[in-house]
């Protein structure tokens, strides 16, 4: 391998690694706040990529039906609770939030033709379609069992993952999609060519990480999420309910997932079930960070991206095997060095 190829592979590795890093951060966040291992994180990547591809192809993305269906179910549940508690004044808000907003979104998709819209608006529509699914999932699948053990929550995650993958097949079909590159600018750096797409992904990832840092360090809601992760009882006594923290952390994870999907869609062909492997690589990064440290998780994820890129050159048939084998020495080292995460 000469230097030029090495640089090219490095570029690939860092690009994918940046996306894995975003996913790793989301996984650490969700686990720290809710103790949920968020396997469906990958489905948000796939849904993000495929929803954007559908919009660009002039099709109505299937995610809109899921949004409507979940919104209706939540409205029924919340509505019944409100009626039983005689809090009728809450009903309009419940309906507006869970049914009105998705309907409005669906109507506007039918009214304008998204295929003709500029890219930023298409991305915005994609996020509006996919991100709300995450807090809705929390509300329907996780909130009722929020106090259950880590293992029980993991089983819920597996169920949600399988369901979403199946729905992905129904919504988007078995063929993969790849969106056109956001930009075809490229730079000559010495002998190597640096693609604008690569730069865009890395810059967007870094910006998102900086935004997350700002959110957690500077805003009271971000601090409230950290507080919940640190001391659940202490946080509740401040009025930070587990439900609020759960909804908020899932919303962030959904946003990170969908946005990663948008970023990755011009680089890789995404199928309805591609999310799982992508999410799993983020998960390896998160494990390297012990599901607790954000910087270590991000660094681990970039390492995964690089390892993947170089092993695809030397032993492409084994590239996934090599990446996932990495987890074994890391787990061994962790189990020797540290105590296990406490089971509440």
């Amino acid at each position: 391998m000469d230097l030029q190829i090495a640089l090219l592979l490095g570029q690939d590795g860092v690009t994918n690694g940046a996306i894995y890093a975003l996913l790793a951060l989301a996984l650490v966040l969700v686990f720290a706040v809710t103790r949920v291992i968020f396997i469906p994180q990958g489905e948000f990547v796939a849904f993000g990529a495929l929803t954007l591809a559908s919009l660009q192809a002039g099709k109505l993305p299937g995610t809109v039906w899921l949004l409507l269906a979940m919104g209706t179910v939540i409205a029924l549940i919340e509505g019944a609770t409100a009626v039983r508690a005689h809090r009728f004044r809450r009903l309009p808000l419940i309906l507006l939030l869970n049914c009105g907003a998705p309907l409005l979104l669906a109507a506007s998709l039918l009214a304008v033709s998204p295929a003709g819209l500029p890219l930023p608006l298409q991305v915005l529509l994609t996020l509006m379609l996919v991100v709300p699914l995450a807090p809705m999932l929390y509300r329907l699948a996780y909130q009722p069992v929020a106090e259950a053990s880590v293992l029980a929550l993991l089983i819920v995650s597996v169920a949600v993952h399988v369901t979403l993958t199946g729905l992905g097949l129904v919504f988007f079909g078995a063929e993969g999609s790849r969106t056109p590159a956001f930009t075809d600018v490229s730079f000559e750096v010495g002998d190597a060519v640096l693609h604008g797409q690569t730069v865009l992904v890395i810059v967007a990832s870094i910006l998102l990480i900086v935004a997350l840092y700002f959110f957690f360090e500077r805003t009271l809601y971000g601090k409230a999420l950290r507080a919940t992760a640190m001391n659940r009882t202490g946080a509740r006594l401040m009025g930070i309910s587990g439900d609020l923290a759960g909804l908020l952390s899932f919303t962030l994870a959904g946003a990170i997932g969908a946005f990663s999907g948008v970023l990755i869609s011009p680089i890789t062909t995404i199928y309805y079930d591609s999310g799982f492997l992508i999410g799993l690589k983020g998960f390896v990064g998160a494990i390297i960070g012990g599901l607790a440290s954000y910087p270590l998780a991000a660094a681990g994820a970039v390492l995964v991206g690089l390892l993947e890129a170089y092993s695809s050159f030397w032993a492409s048939a084994f590239k996934e095997v090599i990446v996932f084998t990495l987890i074994i020495p890391v787990l061994l080292w962790r189990s020797l060095k540290t105590r296990h995460v406490e089971e509440a």
Binding site: K223, R226, A227, M230, N231, G234, A235, R236, M238, G239
Partner: protein, 247 residues
């Protein structure tokens, strides 16, 4: 005459169980506005259980009327916090890897969420009450001394501008000088109108600062009365104050 003062909290026939084991057996108590009420009793009497049930961390049976409103069985911690009830827990429950200032700000989280934006003023008031916290504002909560941790737990609770402050053994594990400082602060809080339900093993200090007192023994109220008369009750002297009492 006592009936004319407004009642902040009224508890009637309250029972709390852990599984099948009943820890509190039908006790009744009352806290008026601007008053310190103390519940003294030995280790294991059920003091922490009482406060945990009041703030909604444990399910309870019986009647609970707070600020003139009867609380339903399904009340949550968050609802009570929104209505101005705040607990300073026995274990402090601080956010160890966050600064003192962040811990305090989080104390105002619920008011912030409700639209109030006066956290910075409130934090100044808290610093007036606990100047030590001001000096340590950038330090991580986990590195504070025991007394400072208690001050932070109380300061964080004050950030919520509570109408009723529940204090669970603020003197626990602290040196005598620090205990005196904490109790001086409790007396000061009373003078600015915060109603408190103070739960203590340190009967001497608690009876000195409180207006009214209950003695809790194995989950039931054994005695009650104005603190002054309880402090001179022979039974209290013998069990709780006699010959050095506790501590």
């Amino acid at each position: 005459m006592a009936e004319e003062r407004s009642v902040v909290l009224e508890v009637r026939d309250l029972s709390v169980s852990y599984g099948k084991v009943e820890a509190l057996h039908g006790l009744s108590l009352r806290v008026h506005r601007g008053e310190i009420v103390t519940v003294i009793g030995p280790n294991g009497a059920g003091k922490t259980t009482l406060l945990s049930a009041l703030i909604g961390l444990l399910p309870l049976r019986g009647d609970l009327v707070y600020l003139g409103e009867r609380q339903s069985a399904g009340r949550t911690v968050e609802q009570l916090v929104r209505q101005g009830m705040t607990l300073v827990p026995e274990k402090r429950e601080l956010f160890a890897d966050m600064s003192v200032a962040d811990n305090l700000l989080l104390g105002a989280f619920d008011r912030y969420r409700a639209g109030h934006r006066d956290q910075l003023e409130t934090i100044d008031h808290v610093f007036d009450v606990f100047p030590r916290l001001m000096e340590r504002r950038e330090q991580m909560a986990g590195t504070l001394s025991g007394g400072e941790r208690q001050m932070l737990a109380m300061g964080r609770a004050l950030m919520a501008k509570p109408r009723l402050l529940l204090l669970d053994e603020p003197s626990l594990g602290l040196a005598p000088l620090v205990i005196r400082e904490i109790f001086r602060t409790i007396a000061h809080l009373r003078s600015i109108g915060v109603a408190m339900l103070l739960v203590e093993q340190n009967a001497r200090a608690a009876l000195q600062v409180a207006d009214y007192a209950y003695v809790l023994e194995t989950g039931s109220i054994a005695l009650e009365g104005p603190s002054g008369s309880l402090a001179s009750d022979p039974r209290v002297i013998e069990s709780y104050l006699g010959l050095g009492g506790r501590h």
